[in-house]
């Protein structure tokens, strides 16, 4: 399962994390987010310890979502050393996300 992120733990778990973190900005009322959810959870299982994968419900973390300019959900942002290094919006295939993560793991 992906880690649950909140406005409270976002800085510690994401911005100050030692490894890359993929954050899924989502909401329960968003259909495509519901479709992406299981893919994110599977990814979290498969990627193991190399990366951290978390989900931020934008209803609970509106300030965080607005800080990173989220205007569409689902949006995924990959953080490295506290900075957003890539961002994709809308549904993604698992393969595409694996490719995205492999790049930062090897680097």
């Amino acid at each position: 399962m992906a880690l649950t992120l909140t406005a409270e733990n976002f800085e510690k778990e994401v911005l100050k994390a030692k490894k890359p973190v993929l954050v899924d900005f989502w909401a329960p009322w968003c259909g495509p987010c519901q479709m992406l959810g299981p893919i994110i959870d599977e990814l979290a299982e498969e990627m193991g310890d190399a990366v951290k994968i978390g989900k931020l419900n934008v209803d609970d973390g509106a300030a965080v979502a607005s800080e990173f300019g989220i205007m569409s959900i689902p949006t995924l942002i990959l953080f490295q050393d506290g900075a957003a290094v890539s961002q994709v919006s809308g549904l993604q295939t698992k393969a595409k996300l694996q490719d995205l993560l492999k790049k930062v793991i090897q680097a």
Binding site: C30, I39, G69, P74
Partner: protein, 305 residues
């Protein structure tokens, strides 16, 4: 090798899976990135028989998946990326490896159409959206544009008025294509205005959407509209790219035999929107899913090795 692979996991794919699994075919369902299909993006479904109080789209799809799995269907999150229908068994390439099957049911459905104008890709998710129910809340008190003149455009525009200050609907045609009740509801809403004969030629903005450049189709005059959000509701295209050159297509839809779900390739069947430009309902998709499974079952019996 599998007996049957079903590509797609909307009502068509899952209904085919339920029937095929009950027939003992142990189908593999390649769910794709849109597990559950379009219905998972809707809220209340009020016209699916058997649910007099209505049912949430995502819940309905979850139930269909469980029902298919209960009878032995294997549902995988993998996406089919290519097929080879020229030899038996059929080959299906997925993003998790290759699969083979004696028969195939294509239930890949359709995807939202994009404008294909400059700026669209760059501002995707940064003001450009195809899902008002997902993104309307990010435009509280803002000005937004809806592109399209059909039922979906009216629904998006009306929903957006719950959040946005003003909604401008840009319509390429001379008149709206939406059904009368949907038109009436949108027209009666004081926050919604319409511009007819108007085509979007460019989406403007650098880091986030700032507006659109539009062309008056009658006069050819080009001007700009300022907006914080732009929602596309310009229809759907069937997901048939991987079948080009292998199956007969018309306007992108798979051509099937009348009264059947069979394609020109024996052993390949279709279900749902991928071959239906006319009805496009959950229940018709489910109906053709059932037909495809029964026809696939009969094909497999007749061609028993």
């Amino acid at each position: 090798m599998r007996r049957l692979i079903i590509i797609g996991s909307g009502p068509a794919g899952y209904t085919a899976a339920i029937y095929a699994a009950r027939a003992g075919l142990k189908p593999l369902v390649l769910a794709g990135e849109r597990m559950g299909g379009w219905l998972t993006t809707t809220t209340e479904v009020e016209n699916f028989p058997g649910f007099p109080e209505g049912i949430q789209g995502p819940e309905l799809m979850e139930r269909m998946r469980k029902q298919a799995e209960k009878f032995g269907a294997e549902v995988r999150l993998a996406s089919a990326t290519a097929v080879d229908l020229s030899a038996r068994p059929f080959k299906v390439t997925t993003d998790e490896g290759a699969e083979e099957a004696e028969a195939l049911i294509i239930a890949t459905g359709s995807s939202s159409r994009r404008l294909g104008v400059p700026g669209e890709d760059k501002l995707w998710g940064k003001g450009v959206s195809v899902c008002a129910t997902c993104d309307a809340a990010f435009f509280r008190g803002k000005d937004v544009i809806v592109v399209g003149g059909g039922d979906a455009a009216m629904e998006e525009a009306t929903f957006l008025t719950n959040f946005a200050a003003r909604v401008t609907v840009l319509v390429r045609g001379e008149a709206l294509k939406a059904s009368k009740p949907m038109q009436d509801r949108a027209k009666a809403n004081p926050k919604i205005s319409f511009e007819m004969n108007t085509e979007v030629v460019e989406i403007l903005g650098e880091k986030r959407l700032e507006g659109a450049r539009v062309k008056d189709i009658k006069t050819g005059e080009v001007s700009e509209r300022r907006a914080d959000g732009l929602f596309l509701a310009i229809g759907h295209d069937p997901n048939t790219k991987m079948f080009e050159g292998q199956l007969e297509l018309t306007k992108g839809y798979v051509v099937i035999k009348p009264g059947s779900t069979a394609t020109g390739v024996a052993g390949v069947f279709t279900a749902g929107d991928v071959a239906d430009w006319k009805f496009r309902q959950a229940i018709t998709a489910a109906g053709t899913g059932c037909m495809a499974a029964l026809e696939a079952q009969r094909y497999l019996e007749e061609n028993e090795a």
